[in-house]
């Protein structure tokens, strides 16, 4: 039995189709992250699952029951909002218990449930306060508590951490992961933050223009991106994309004399595409040893930034840009030409026209 199933979900506003047929199926206990830049339709999709927006077509099934046309309150879901959406006039305890109150749970049972939830989230000392007396992180905990207390089939999170500062965001991220491991809940989580997606998800759906570009585990999204878009969206600094032409087993980087040997199993497809994009993650580049013959590409060093654990080097090759993440003590000179070696296993090759992985 799947916890959530989306069948050909479509959404249209006037002439603009914001969701173009979304299909996915979620197993019990999965943590699915909908990842994409703003306007890709991820929040609309979440609202459709919640019942806060109506799909123009398709079906939403929660626990093998179609919930299309069913009011949010009867869908057995709970939702955490980016703005926390706490009721300002109610105490923290009442905020958490409000869903139970509306479902006619007796006050005694409600108190037990609220106490238990507060203990899990370590906010027992805040129960008597009003939301206005809480910090951002505390409000976020209360918002999560309000969802948790109801023990629904599915939790929906709409960019829950984006209003927090960087340090708190990391803490809450870990907290969410801990909660998911502890409670084994099924979660659909919307974010534009690829780090959140990579760290939290059991599966990531990368969305673009109302479609799912790739649906896979974080490891696969990172190491085998299905499209050029996914490859450039996930990873920081982003993957280098070198427009090239394929011939004789080599990708010749456009506008330069540099070329990269491609693994043999890619030759046939690369030859068919001819115009290809070669992707290399910044950590897939190393400084080539002088005097040792190896294939490499020559680039002019433009900017060197030390982030602490690594040295981020920005260089130009022809008219294209190249970023490399090197060990912090690497010897590079701004303005000089530098040869970079490429780990052939770290290559990602995309058809330039279709942007699909070869």
């Amino acid at each position: 039995m799947s916890a959530l199933e989306l069948v050909d979900i479509r959404k249209r506003y006037g002439n603009i189709e914001t969701l173009k047929g979304i299909d996915l199926s979620l197993a019990d206990g999965e943590f699915l992250v909908l990842l994409g830049s703003s306007g890709c339709g991820k929040s609309t999709l979440l609202n459709i699952i919640a019942g806060l927006a109506e799909a123009t077509g398709g079906d939403v099934r929660i626990g093998d029951r179609s919930v299309t046309g069913i009011h949010p309150k009867n869908r057995d879901i709970a939702m955490v909002f980016q703005s926390y959406a706490l009721y300002p006039n109610m105490s923290v305890a009442r905020n958490i218990g409000f869903g139970l109150e509306m479902r006619k749970v007796s006050e005694a049972d409600r108190n037990v449930a609220v106490q238990k939830t507060a203990r899990i989230l370590q906010i027992e000392n805040l129960l008597a306060r009003k939301p206005s007396e809480l910090s951002g992180g505390q409000r976020q905990r209360v918002a999560i508590g309000r969802a948790l207390v109801r023990d629904p089939q599915i939790f929906l999170f709409d960019e829950p951490l984006s209003n927090l500062d960087a340090k708190l965001r990391m803490e809450m991220r870990t907290e969410l992961k801990r909660l998911h491991q502890m409670l084994g809940t099924t979660i659909v989580y919307v974010t534009h933050d690829q780090i959140e997606a990579m760290t939290l998800a059991t599966r990531i759906a990368v969305m673009r223009d109302g479609q799912i570009e790739q649906l896979a585990a974080p490891d696969e999204i990172y190491n085998r991106p299905a499209t050029r878009y996914v490859a450039s969206f996930v990873g920081s600094p982003p993957m280098n994309m070198l427009d090239s032409t394929f011939s004789d087993g080599f990708a010749h980087i456009d506008g330069t004399l540099s070329s990269i040997p491609l693994p043999a199993h890619l030759h046939k497809a690369a030859a068919e595409a001819r115009n290809i994009t070669v992707g290399v993650r910044p950590e897939g580049l190393t400084l080539a040893q002088v005097g040792v013959t190896n294939f490499g590409i020559d680039a002019k060093i433009e900017v060197v930034e030390l982030t602490g654990p690594e040295l981020v080097v920005t260089a130009t090759i022809g008219t294209q840009r190249l970023t490399a993440s090197l060990p912090p003590r690497s010897q590079v000179t701004v303005g000089a030409m530098q040869r970079f070696a490429i780990d052939p296993d770290a290559l990602h090759v995309f058809d330039k026209l279709t942007e699909k992985r070869i």
């Binding site: 609202n47 806060l52 949010p72 869903g99």
Partner: protein, 293 residues
Amino acid sequence: MTNNWITTRAWLLMLPLLVVMIAVIGWPLIDTIRLSFTDAKLVGTQGSFVGLDNYVKVLSGSNFQRSLLTTFWFAVLSVSAEMVIGVLAALLLNQRFYGRSVLRALMILPWALPTVVNATLWRLIYNPEYGALNALLVQIGMLDSYRSWLGEPGTALASLILADCWKNFPLVALIALAALQAVPRDITAASMVDGAGVWSRFRFVTLPYLAGPLMVALVLRTIEAFKVFDIIWVMTRGGPANSTRTLSILVYQEAFSFQRAGSGASLALIVTLLVTVLAVAYAALIRKTAGAS
């Protein structure tokens, strides 16, 4: 610059305003207080000092008590109806539907009309011979024959209240609508997911956002309703049989129709005192609500 100079300059800058205020509010007020202790007439005699006679007479007289009651009913009924209708209208106009902005603009119209125009319009509607209300009620069979709505003591006050509501509910609706638009979308969505029905959502989620602004509307409207004069003067002049004679009408009659400046002044001061008490009580209430949220 010394603090002294800043203070002096502030007073100097306010001086023109203070002079004007003393001339048009302060002096008349003091003179009214003086008048209220005399038996002065509007024309002729300056009057002589009679102590608290005017106050005793006014407060013990049946005219004042009856007018106070009329004013009370007018204020309570019209203001509460305006609040309810105003909030309902705001809830409706807060929904998404075609033509919403046109309706929002149209709604303000009655409130934007001068009271005299509004009162005249309603006199035509209530007209016993060719009024629209009579025609409507007779044609749909709710009434056998035309009635004189403003001419019968039993219906005159209610008719006035209806006219006043029509004019003033838009103010409440406008304030409520502004407050409704300040309710975050996420909070409404959260309450839907939490399982709140339409009524619970209004009661627990929307109303707290409306409470503050509505309190302001309530204060404004109650004080205005307590002082009501123009709409009644145009429509009934306090009649028939004094059934719509509110305190302001009574003051006017006493001071200008009967030309008893002395007792008119004492009545006016009593009304002023009542309104001040209302204003202070509401101000305290508003401070309390503001402190709570």
